[in-house]
């Protein structure tokens, strides 16, 4: 009779063992990558040029960049923390995006490095298939995470730049101009979405205070259409300006806009409207007590 004795190993112990095993493999891997640093780095730079990536950069620059990416890569593998790499990726993106480097190029070079390193592992462990397998088990997830981190860092940087530019365009698109002492004009051109409307109001109210404006002319000749949300926002802007002691004159309502406003029933009773910008400015001058006199016509009389 044979008695089979099962030894019980707790799953927790097992997983702990597995982690230690992976850690040991990663250490071995890192040592290998450090040892062959120069050679692998050159191989990588060669492959980058071969694949015609980073054409916007010179050979020396590629090599210098490759060196620091390589070192950061190995460090991330070793420590298992990605903060330093993330920061580096962001920094790198900041430098290369203005030079016209595309997203696919950045992802391409990281994937190339992954490939180059994997190949060197194949070469090293080709005689020991089990070892190769377990080394790859340790390497692949870490390498994937690194590729992910760099790609995400690059895309985030891009998005940040796009956001900044959008912001800049938006600020440029709503200038508040002073045409006379205490008289501001706000020409609005293009479509108004709720966000732009809000920003416009903020800028106008701030300008009223800093310029101590009494009258504001808002010219919407360049606005093709208004919806009810934006229209009521405009009415609110007029009201808020009044609370700051400034009167608002709206000019340049196109026939279409006038029709829309009446149809959707926006209460325009509180709005002072004048046909065009010229009329609006003349009205504002009258309110402020200015009188424009032509010196050419006056001259012969004197």
């Amino acid at each position: 009779m044979v008695v089979v004795v099962k030894t019980k190993v707790s799953p927790r112990f097992k997983s702990q063992q597995a982690t230690e095993f992976t850690a040991a493999l990663l250490r071995e891997l890192v040592a290998h990558l450090r040892q062959n640093r120069t050679q692998l780095r050159q191989e990588w730079a060669r492959r980058i040029q071969e694949a015609q990536l980073l054409t916007a950069m010179s050979e020396d620059e590629i090599f210098a960049e490759a060196t620091s990416v390589y070192d950061n890569y190995v460090e991330a593998l070793e420590t298992g923390t990605f903060e330093a790499l993330q920061a580096y990726a962001r920094n790198l993106s900041e430098r290369v995006i203005p030079r016209g480097v595309e997203t696919d190029e950045v992802i391409g070079i990281v994937l190339l490095l992954r490939d180059v390193l994997a190949r060197s592992l194949f070469a090293k462990y080709q005689d020991d298939f089990d070892k190769l397998n377990s080394i790859l088990d340790a390497y692949e997830p870490a390498a994937n995470r690194i590729a992910n981190t760099v790609a995400v860092g690059f895309v985030q940087e891009r998005e940040r730049i796009i956001r900044e530019q959008q912001e800049a365009i938006r600020e440029l698109s709503t200038p508040v101009l002073q045409v006379r002492e205490r008289l501001l004009i706000l020409p609005i051109i293009g479509a108004i979405d709720p966000q732009r409307a809000r920003q416009l109001t903020e800028q106008l109210l701030r300008a009223i205070r800093t310029n101590r404006a009494k009258v504001v002319v808002i010219d919407i000749t360049g606005v093709a259409a208004l919806n009810s949300v934006v229209a009521s926002h405009l009415v609110q802007t007029v009201e808020a300006s009044r609370l700051l002691g400034a009167m608002v004159i709206v000019t340049g309502l196109s026939p279409e806009i006038a029709q829309t406003l009446v149809t959707i029933g926006v209460d325009l009773g509180k709005m002072h409207t004048v046909g065009d910008l010229q009329g609006g400015i003349e009205e504002a001058e009258r309110l402020l007590g200015y009188k424009v006199i032509s010196i050419v016509e006056e001259a012969p009389q004197a």
């Binding site: 109001t201 903020e202 109210l205 701030r206 009223i208 205070r209 101590r212 609110q236 802007t237 009201e239 808020a240 300006s241 009044r242 609370l243 700051l244 002691g245 400034a246």
Partner: protein, 128 residues
């Protein structure tokens, strides 16, 4: 917190120094309505520059104040509403309808002086 009310010739000037409770507000309203008769003032200026929040009670009280002062035969100007406050108020539908407003104390005084002059001109006319 009590709001100091200063008499400046024909005007009463109340400058709010810090956030006010509802009780402070009604107290301010009552005090102004009473003093405008005692000092025979022509107008009241309420300076709210220091307020960065204006709730419905506050704006309703200010509006009531203005109406009450008008019934007592004087003018009211609310001055110094901050841009953010102004927009928040309008969004909540607190428009201070029928109440004169001005950018700051200086503007408020200029507005009242201008009005006072036209009133004097009017009375001269009727006398002639």
């Amino acid at each position: 917190m009590e709001v100091p009310i200063l008499k400046q010739q024909h005007y009463l000037i109340a400058t709010v120094q810090a956030a006010l409770t509802d009780a402070d507000l009604t107290h301010l309203r009552d005090a102004l309505v009473e003093r405008v008769g005692r000092f025979r003032s022509h107008a009241v200026i309420v300076d709210v520059t220091a307020l960065d929040v204006m709730d419905s009670f506050a704006s309703r009280t200010l509006r009531d104040l203005a109406y009450m002062i008008r019934l007592r035969g004087a003018e009211t100007v609310i001055v110094g509403i901050q841009p953010e406050v102004a927009f928040a108020m309008v969004q909540l539908g607190l428009n201070l309808e029928g109440v004169a407003t001005a950018l700051d104390l200086e503007e408020g005084l200029a507005f009242l002086n201008h009005k006072g002059k036209s009133r004097e001109a009017g009375s001269n006319l009727s006398r002639n």
